[in-house]
């Protein structure tokens, strides 16, 4: 009994590390894509806008499940072999990034036009206006929605267990096959994910406080 418990703790610990890496890597890539394509979506250049729209529609339109399998099983046909970890991070990051891009677009759009006009009047360059005027007002609106997306990403990491990456879910399945015990590994798995979920909620709440505009300056 003790041996089984130790076995469970060790394998779940290993899985937890993989899931945590996947979530952090995926979130970092998703954040980069969200800003890159979200701002590209409102660019003045037509080509940049078209590429951004194409990316957003492609990754929001197909299932993340299909995307992970496509990267892992179909891409080798073109001579590109990605490890399960890289396939997982790339697929999750690109998928959630597409949803994030829409958040960035709408948050930037929600900052009043007068702000952009005022920056032009002050002779700020486009970059300066974005960096010092628009984004500080747009980012606080993005954070809660980004938090929801981070949770979606965490939950989607479970899918990579199906491309043989040994995350929490994979370890639970292996443990079930190894020991024939079913209830315990899955309950532990659910609790671990729930813990990570609460951790993300906590982080988002802290970020919200850190990026909140000083009161009196809040965007209406």
């Amino acid at each position: 009994m003790t041996a089984t418990l130790i076995d469970l703790a060790v394998s779940m610990g290993r899985g937890l590390a993989i899931t945590a890496w996947l979530t952090m890597g995926g979130c970092a890539l998703a954040l980069a894509c969200a800003f890159l394509f979200g701002l590209g979506r409102v660019s003045e250049r037509r080509a940049v806008r078209a590429i951004s729209i194409g990316y957003i529609e492609l990754f929001r339109g197909t299932s993340v499940f299909v995307q992970i399998f496509w990267l892992y099983y179909a891409l080798p046909a073109f001579g590109i072999l990605l490890s399960p970890m890289v396939s997982g991070i790339v697929a999750l990051g690109l998928n959630v990034g597409a949803y994030g891009a829409e958040i960035v677009r709408s948050a930037v759009g929600a900052v009043g036009r007068d702000q952009a006009e005022a920056s032009t009047a002050l002779n700020l360059t486009r970059w300066q206006s974005l960096r010092y005027i628009i984004l500080p007002q747009a980012v606080p609106r993005m954070i809660p929605v980004f938090g929801n997306n981070a949770v979606e990403l965490l939950k989607a990491t479970a899918i990579v267990s199906l491309i043989s990456l040994s995350d929490i879910t994979f370890q639970a399945q292996q443990f079930r096959i190894r020991t024939g015990q079913t209830i315990m590994p899955f309950i532990v798995t659910l609790l671990l994910y729930f813990m990570l979920y609460l951790l993300i909620l906590h982080g988002v709440r802290r970020a919200e406080r850190a990026y909140a505009l000083p009161s009196g300056n809040r965007p209406s």
Binding site: S63, V66, W70, Y73, V151, I159
Partner: protein, 218 residues
């Protein structure tokens, strides 16, 4: 190695068979989610702290844990409790419960959007609690919820490939099996992606049209 159209054509009828399962699973689980989501919101109205905490807590738990693990739990653990569901039943139940937790939020927002004056007017007209809910509050709460529910319908559709992991032969399941058989995944998996994209666009168009018809009846 590149795209093989002949092989892709061979895969199509197999995927069409899976498409049927995908659609059935989507429709049934969304219907379950819509009903269950409303029940969750109504259960929260029960003036008891224990019930409210319990409902809110389980809602958080369902939304905070991956659907895949929930499905594994249903599929592998339920038989130990002497409940044996067919795989598709498990899948529809799991998807339905998972999305009910999301839809309950949508309903809650809709109900919160009904102006308090409506409640007061209903009371002034001497309507009972049930009458107020059925005739006054819900019709006004549900209408603005429809477009958001449409988004969740599409999100649910895109989660159905997970069902293939509990041996359901949906589109993804068929594509993987077909790939295993010929050891070539590029065409079937790409086709599944294209099919999802097209069904998703179609579903978006349908929900958009339905919503337009509902908001300005001809």
């Amino acid at each position: 190695m590149s795209w093989d159209s002949h092989y892709a054509l061979l895969a199509l009828p197999v995927l069409a068979r899976g498409l049927w399962i995908t659609i059935v699973a989507t429709v049934l689980s969304f219907a379950l989610a819509a009903v269950l989501g409303l029940l969750i919101v109504l259960a929260e109205m029960i003036p008891s702290r224990t019930v409210r905490t319990l409902v809110r807590g389980s809602e958080h738990f369902i939304r905070g844990t991956p659907l895949l693990v929930q499905l594994f739990f249903l599929y592998y653990v339920l038989p130990y409790l002497d409940v044996t569901l067919p795989a598709l039943g498990c899948g529809i139940f799991g998807l339905g419960v998972h999305y009910a937790a999301y839809l309950s939020q949508v309903y809650r927002a809709g109900i919160a959007g009904v102006p308090p004056l409506q409640w007061e007017a209903a009371r002034a007209c001497n309507l009972t609690r049930t009458q107020t809910w059925v005739h006054i509050v819900l019709p006004q709460a549900l209408k603005p919820s429809f477009p958001v529910m449409g988004n969740y319908l599409i999100a649910l559709l895109k989660e159905t490939p997970i069902l293939s992991s509990i041996t359901i032969m949906d589109m993804m399941g068929e594509a993987n099996t077909f790939g295993d058989l010929h050891y070539r995944y590029l065409e079937p998996v790409t086709l599944v992606g294209i099919l999802f994209l097209s069904i998703g666009l179609l579903a978006r168009w349908v929900t958009g049209t339905v919503y337009r018809l509902l908001s300005n009846p001809v």
